[in-house]
Amino acid sequence: METTKSTAMDFSKETLKALDDYIESLDDKQGLLIHILHKAQELFGYLPQDLQLYIARKLDIPAAKVFGVVSFYSFFAQEKRGKHNVSICMGTACFVQGAERVYDALRSALGVEAGGTSEDGLFTLNAVRCIGACGLAPVALIDDKVFGHLSEEKIKDIIKEYREGMQDEDQYAESAV
């Protein structure tokens, strides 16, 4: 099967191989399309159209089907993301504890709307629905770290710390999940 024709994105050989190996290891390849896309996103960070086409050819299904699935599920990103993923929880428990204000503060601190990446390429902002830490509401995730009991001030400070590269001292982090 035809594989890497000239592609605009940088498909490193090893990463592609890792994806190929994963796909090879599956029995029900088409039924596991969502798993394959999860794997691809884990490997490449996002799912550009070239990569979608590559997967479609590999599974021998129409690229439109792959695109249909990618665009249906909010977990899949088609745009390159920033260095850190900031996910603010807009689940109900967080909402009633004032997540909206924290969200506003985040948007202004990062200068982007949900789905956008800050100009410095450091942060991609997402609004998610419940990460299961409702007891600490309102919460946000930065990559896989949970920050709980947030306020407008606290989230601004946290972003500032990340910007200044001090995130390792993370005095605010409740813990890494």
Partner: protein
């Protein structure tokens, strides 16, 4: 090692009996003390890992390395995570809350070294395990959550010690699938995923299909934002779901189980994977289970962030690897489901109830609860409540008992306003209905629903119009777009609510909302659209005055709707210092009645800068 017979399984259980006793009563609990540390997502997020490490260090440094440290699931007390349980042979188990690193060390020093309970962190547990001999004294009776917090979810031997896989062994030994179906039917168990359909009848429908390829799917999509019952079960007791799937597979004639789980639950996924491998290693999943000739395997399928995939037909399309769009029922999945084969879809909590029903009998289960709603229900109690967490209560418990007795009342002693059950498909329950017994029928009667178990408590600072808008925003975002009433209808309803909360609402908007809501309810394709208007219709019914205040007086009494706030300057208090004028980003503050200034409401963006700048409390917000 493989377990080939029921007696081998019993032997393993007897080997673990001491551990089981130690954790439940302390009496006869062997010779080794242990500390159980809550390490579900919430426990970990609150610092459970650090607590675990601190305990490990403290035990080592004090020569107490023989004390067993065990990672367990959630005991439901999210409000005081991290939590731990100290079990000393011959003594009743002691629970502790808010155990940070310092507290962990203090507990080792005081309790384990000197035998003194550290009272400052002691936690009184308000539940008991519902069993044949349970006294029924506590408000909370645990069936679905029976093992959460007591077993190491990553150790199948713990589960076996707590009678794990005994129910599966029992049904396989009896060899009568029909009897299993009848027993579940007789127990009165109804689906905990929201619909409340009789689980036994559902199993029967699949069982009655001609033999051949059949499936049983566990719905672990748990989409209701703010609800985490299923996650806690999967993280704390994954084997109970595997065992139940195997029992359901046996009863309905399916040899394959699938767990559809949302990708947002990495820890639950991890623990399920471990559990499947362990069960396969022991031969409790796989070929010829316990020598019965019954084969059963379980596979995981991941979701990818779409609420509608919790709906069973959409879920099946997602399991098949496609877009999770719902299709019309009938045909029901029991007839034509996954790969067009007969498929049973059951919720996580529903399944977690199965093994105890098999072990204790249908009569035991149907003796708990109300006439038409049997057993218990797990709720995720969140919002403006003191004891945020998971509770499991017998059906028929009143909301008042849950909020005030178990939940410890409203935070900061504020006034109770309402509880939302059923998430984005449900409605509000007000003060007037606090004494309604919770069961499927009563909740429906008062315009809400049981739902999957999310329970959001709101106080007098929460604006009901704003909450309704929040839910509509959710369903609008999550509508898959396949049918018009849901795709466009929810958008229009949200726009109207947006207008109202921005202070641009007119009285006719309320009529429009109601008409549109009722139209969507009867015309949408699937449960998502059919129930999406509920939060609006229910708040419209119970909080009509509040809606009216928004559209007639353009006032929001809670101050939640920024668009309705009015900033004005008190002429008496204003000194004319111009501090506000300098900070106003839109230059809408002008000199009016010397020396007092005035805010031009038409231009004001309600940013609050003037309020913060004024040193004389002259800026007033209404």
């Amino acid at each position: 090692m493989k377990i080939n017979t029921l007696s081998q399984l019993s032997k393993l259980r007897e080997d673990g009996a001491a551990v089981c006793q130690l954790r439940e009563s302390g009496i006869g609990g062997g010779s080794t003390a242990e500390i159980l540390v809550g390490m579900a997502t919430c426990g970990v997020a609150a610092g459970g890992k650090q607590t675990f490490a601190a305990l490990e260090r403290a035990l080592r440094n004090r020569g107490l390395s023989h004390v067993r440290l065990v990672k367990v699931g959630c005991i439901g007390s999210c409000y005081c995570e991290p939590t731990i349980q100290v079990n000393i042979p011959g003594q009743e188990p002691v629970f502790y809350g808010n155990v940070d690193e310092d507290a962990a060390i203090a507990i080792v020093d005081s309790h384990l070294l000197k035998g003194n309970v550290l009272e400052s962190n002691r936690l009184q547990i308000g539940y008991e395990k519902a069993g044949l001999n349970s006294k029924g004294q506590k408000k909370q009776q645990r069936i679905a959550l029976r093992n959460c917090g007591s077993v190491d979810p990553e150790n199948i031997m713990d589960y076996i010690a707590f009678r794990g896989y005994e129910a599966l062994g029992k049904v396989l030994a009896e060899g009568n699938p029909e009897a299993v179906v009848n027993s579940i039917k007789a127990s009165g168990l109804r689906g905990r995923g929201g619909g409340g359909f009789s689980t036994g009848s559902k199993w029967q429908a699949t069982a009655q299909q001609p033999t051949g390829e059949k499936y049983i799917i566990c719905n672990a999509d748990e989409g209701d934002p703010g609800a985490f019952m299923d996650r806690s079960i999967l993280e704390g007791d994954p084997h109970s779901v595997l065992e139940a799937l195997a029992i359901g597979g046996y009863a309905t004639g399916a040899n394959k189980g699938i767990i559809y789980i949302r990708a947002e639950y990495p820890l639950a996924i991890e623990r399920l994977k471990i559990a499947i491998v362990q069960a396969e290693e022991l031969g409790l999943l796989g070929k010829n289970i316990l020598g019965s000739g019954f084969d059963f395997t379980v596979e995981l399928r991941l979701g990818a962030g779409a609420f509608v995939c919790g709906e069973e037909t959409a879920l099946i399309h997602s399991v098949e690897g496609g877009r999770g769009e719902p299709t019309k029922k009938p045909p029901f999945p029991s007839i034509s489901g996954y790969l067009k084969k007969p498929t049973t879809v059951n919720n996580v909590e529903t399944l977690a109830n199965i093994p105890p029903i098999i072990l204790n009998g249908a009569g035991w289960f149907s003796g708990i609860g109300t006439e038409k709603s049997k057993g218990t229900k797990v709720f995720a109690l969140v919002g403006k409540i003191n004891n945020v967490g998971l509770v499991e209560v017998p059906m028929g418990t009143t909301l008042r008992e849950i909020v005030y007795e178990i939940g410890g009342g409203i935070r900061n002693d504020r006034d109770f306003r309402a509880v939302q059950t059923g998430g984005p498909s449900g409605g509000v329950i007000t003060k007037a209905d606090l004494d309604t017994p919770i069961d499927y029928e009563s909740l429906k009667e008062i315009g809400s629903m049981m739902g999957s178990g999310g329970m959001i408590v709101m106080d007098d600072s929460d604006c009901m119009v704003n909450i309704a808008k929040f839910y509509l925003g959710f369903t609008r975002d999550e509508s898959c777009g396949k049918c018009t009433p849901c795709r466009i209808g929810t958008k229009r309803m949200h726009e109207i609510l947006e207008r109202i909360t921005n202070g641009e609402g007119v009285p006719e908007d309320l009529v429009k909302l109601e008409r549109l809501g009722n139209t969507i309810k009867i015309s949408a394709l699937c449960g998502l659209g059919q129930t999406a208007p509920n939060p609006v219709l229910s708040t419209l019914k119970y909080f009509q005055d509040e809606y009216k205040a928004h559209v007639i007086d353009h006032k929001c009494s809670t101050g939640s709707c920024k668009g309705l706030l009015r900033y004005r300057i008190s002429e008496e208090a204003c000194t004319g210092c111009r501090a506000c004028v300098k900070v106003c980003p839109v230059n809408c503050i002008h000199l009016a009645n010397k020396p007092a200034y005035r805010i031009d409401s038409a231009v004001c963006t309600r940013c609050g800068a003037c309020l913060a700048a004024c040193k004389f409390d002259a800026v007033i917000v209404e």
